[in-house]
Symmetry: C2
Subunit: 509 residues, 2 copies
């Protein structure tokens, strides 16, 4: 099969246009990174203008008549299938984003930007006043805008599906509902059993000391290096909220936050961000300057961060090697035993704040949000009912009731940003991570013993080959099926929790 | 006078377009700053792509049909003069850049980019081999491209004028020739008198110690803060080559380089860059997001850096306050006297390398380059004659002959970048700085005594008001005339040198 001259010209021009858009988006990533790391205090106002201008330019290029012409030509039957595999994937992915952009009325986008800019300020204020009522009117507007967005995009069953698709292409309520039902059925009893076990691991040696910033950063860098994060193609810096941000496989920036009283939290967040970063560094370099060089979905991205943060970074195997190193770096930690340390970092306790929660309770926090979001978007819950619903669900799943809205429905930034449908990807990440790690151990029975010897590169290489290299050439579902031999299966995560915490808390399923 | 509705619409759309272009250029500045400071090693290739894409987008917007339409409308007699002063200045400045861009064939620009990308590598290689012959062919091409550029832009007398105009709008050979003639006539005898004075200040205590990076950076930051550099609207970081870079009055980045053996060089370069940075911070904030928020010319920009670096930073008054602080910070400096320190930092010695030269010899280095550049562009010197001409002029003005090309014609990066006409702006900066500082002292006779008490803000405020605030609303010539009451006059600089160095070396004019 040969492509015609017109097709050759079109695919080349299309790729050049895609490259330019990606260059702009990489630049936007740098503007965002700098904003959170090194930008002087007063730089915010003009930074916002720069970011808005670049967003407009990349949107205009994405929806330009040139783009439309190329896609119309390249997506024709008889043309598409003659392209090489990478070009086909690129046409498919860019076409998907193009279609979504075209379906979104520009006025709706602008209204969303204006509303959420305002909403963010109101949310900060309301949270500081612990008063959900203050946030209600603007949240009502954000929900209505999201509903209009869902209508504009279209959906088969629930309008919430159209929002999920933004973060996890193809994901639906129909798929998610049984997953959360299983988590609820299996995790709520686990949590109750843990609470009834009478065992409360000590944690004071972890988070009541003094561990200087510089030494913590150096330790995190050492671990990241041994995980295989390439510091010639990336960095680790301090930022108020940890994140990772990449513009190519050659430039990936991680950030972390250091609490000098706590020897574990910065390392843990560094390993989390390192998992994201190694995904971005591990994509086939030939995909650079295209959206195919990004992670395939937020859920798969989160699986990489969770895998390093929890499956590895909260494992006995990992700490059997790294605890002596941590003790050598921080003599204040003293001669705490591996078992004591391992129990301490795996303490389980129902708490109000999602980002401070543990592996067992984390997904229950997500379930609270998922159920409320879905009901709000589907119109079966009113905004003023949220605090009560929140309290009831927290009591139901976690056995605790928030004293005020700041430790309830006002704790997360997502809604003020206009993001509905984002939260479930956190849980997907947890589930995928367990499923991937299970497969990795099956394929390489020596994996845990390698980790316990400080050899982290075997795992990294496996992740590179199996998950990272394809970038966005494959969908999340395809990757999970190819790598693990089956679709998403929450059992691996549930089994992992019961096995690990059963042992720590001496309980039976 | 009232502006018409069409004009109001046009000026608003024009300003919005100018704002966008400036946002992109501010982003380009950040990409460049990051490249030199925090970018991971392997990030270079894709950074180059990002920079090229943004350059293309801003060029396209600058030369767009919309821009052309606005300028055609707004520059009409009967329209222009009805605009407010700022809008008039904006139309004038953007129109000037538009006209230049329109006159430059895009193929010529592209050929220049391609040639200089290659030339830079060849120059690095040739310099390391100390072999000008290797650089000759590509330099010949660069000169020919510059000649074509000059023809495209047009000029009245010398093609070199068209190149000067790029860096110092309006500057001509006719103006520069007598300036350099005066410098030659007055400085060469000064240098000879200094050499014959028999006095050679000691410098070992300055540059043969050990002064740790962190303490040097802190000292530089302290001095910059006392100069009035606003660290809430700027930063100081390390970079291989010191530079300053701003995207608004609210975000100005300085860099410096620290030599741990030398207690003076990093501070001196920080004060230099601080002068540039305070110019950018000091512009009327209403001019932000437009080219009017930039320095009016490279010469005036350099006057601000030179003023702080030399007129202040190499003065007895400044060090009478700061030497005790320097000694407290670096006990290794010992109890060196003010006079000994002052003489040490003002040592004069003919040397081969421009960037290492002193206040007396610096402009002689520039003169060598000016005369050779002009002859090359005017076609009266051939490329292969450069090394010989260089040696002869160095002998003539400085009394020394380079042993090889790396300490001769290959030392500067400028030609490999394609820049001809840039060097003279360094000398203009020196001349303007002396003329401005003379005026400042005349208007405020207490200035030197304020400086000797560590009060640097009086000078900073004067510079803000007299020079910085107008940004690019006034030309270099207008600013000099308004501030000093006369046009550029090299006598102030020559008198400054003779007075200062006459005293240090005990010689008469």
């Amino acid at each position: 099969m040969q492509t015609s001259t017109a097709t050759t010209a079109s695919i080349m021009a299309f790729q050049a246009l895609v490259n330019e858009i990606h260059d702009i988006q990489g630049t936007q990533a740098l503007l965002g990174w700098d904003l959170e790391t090194y930008m002087p205090e007063k730089g915010g106002a003009f930074r916002a203008k720069q970011m808005a201008t670049l967003a407009k330019i990349s949107h205009n290029l994405m929806t330009s008549p040139e783009m439309e012409d190329h896609l119309r030509h390249l997506r024709q039957p008889g043309v598409l299938e003659k392209l090489d595999t990478m070009s086909q994937a690129l046409v498919r992915e860019v076409g998907r984003v193009f279609d979504k952009s075209k379906k979104t009325p520009i006025e709706l986008l602008q209204e969303m930007v204006e509303t959420t800019t305002e909403a963010h300020k109101i949310w900060v204020e309301a949270r500081s006043n612990k008063n959900f009522k203050q946030f209600e009117p603007v949240l009502r507007k954000i929900i209505s805008l999201n509903q209009r967005m869902a209508e504009a995009q279209g959906y088969e069953e629930s309008p919430y599906d159209a929002l999920l698709d933004e973060y996890e292409p193809g994901l639906t309520v129909k798929q998610l509902d049984p997953v959360f039902a299983k988590l609820k059925a299996d995790i709520v009893p686990l949590l109750q059993a843990i609470q009834q076990s009478g065992h409360t691991p000590e944690t004071g040696f972890i988070n009541e000391g003094f561990f200087p910033v510089e030494k913590q950063l150096q330790f995190s860098q050492m671990v990241l290096r041994e995980m295989g994060f390439d510091f010639e193609a990336g960095r680790l810096d301090l930022a108020p909220h940890p994140f990772s941000s990449g513009s190519s496989t050659m430039d990936v920036r991680l950030t972390t936050r250091v609490d000098e009283r706590d020897v574990f939290s910065a390392l843990s967040s560094s390993m989390h961000e390192g998992g994201h970063g190694m995904y971005e560094q591990g994509v086939n370099p030939a995909l650079n300057r295209t959206p195919l060089a990004e992670g395939t979905s937020l859920g798969i991205h989160e699986s990489q961060s969770r895998l390093w943060e929890n499956q590895v970074g909260r494992s006995r195997a990992f700490w059997s090697h790294y605890l002596p190193k941590l003790q050598a770096t921080f003599p204040e930690l003293g001669s705490v035993s591996l078992e004591k340390f391992y129990s301490g970092i795996n303490r389980v306790r129902p708490s109000f704040i999602r980002v401070e929660s543990d592996e067992v309770t984390y997904n229950l926090h997500i379930m609270v949000r998922y159920e409320i979001e879905k009901a709000l978007i589907e119109g079966t819950m009113k905004v003023n009912e949220v605090p009560e619903a929140w309290a009831a669900k927290m009591q139901d799943y976690l056995g605790i009731t928030p004293a005020h809205d700041a430790e309830g429905a006002l704790q997360d930034i997502h809604w003020s940003h206009g993001s509905f449908g984002y939260f479930p990807t956190y849980t997907l990440g947890n589930l995928y991570s367990a499923q991937f790690f299970h497969t990795a151990k099956q394929q390489n029975p020596a994996l845990e013993s390698q980790i316990s010897q400080g050899n982290l590169l075997a795992l990294k290489t496996w992740l590179n080959q199996e998950i990272h290299a394809v970038g966005k050439m494959e969908s999340a579902a395809t990757i999970v099926q190819r790598v693990t031999g089956e679709p998403l299966n929450a059992s691996y995560f549930v089994d992992y929790l019961w096995q690990k915490y059963g042992e720590i808390f001496n309980i039976q399923r």
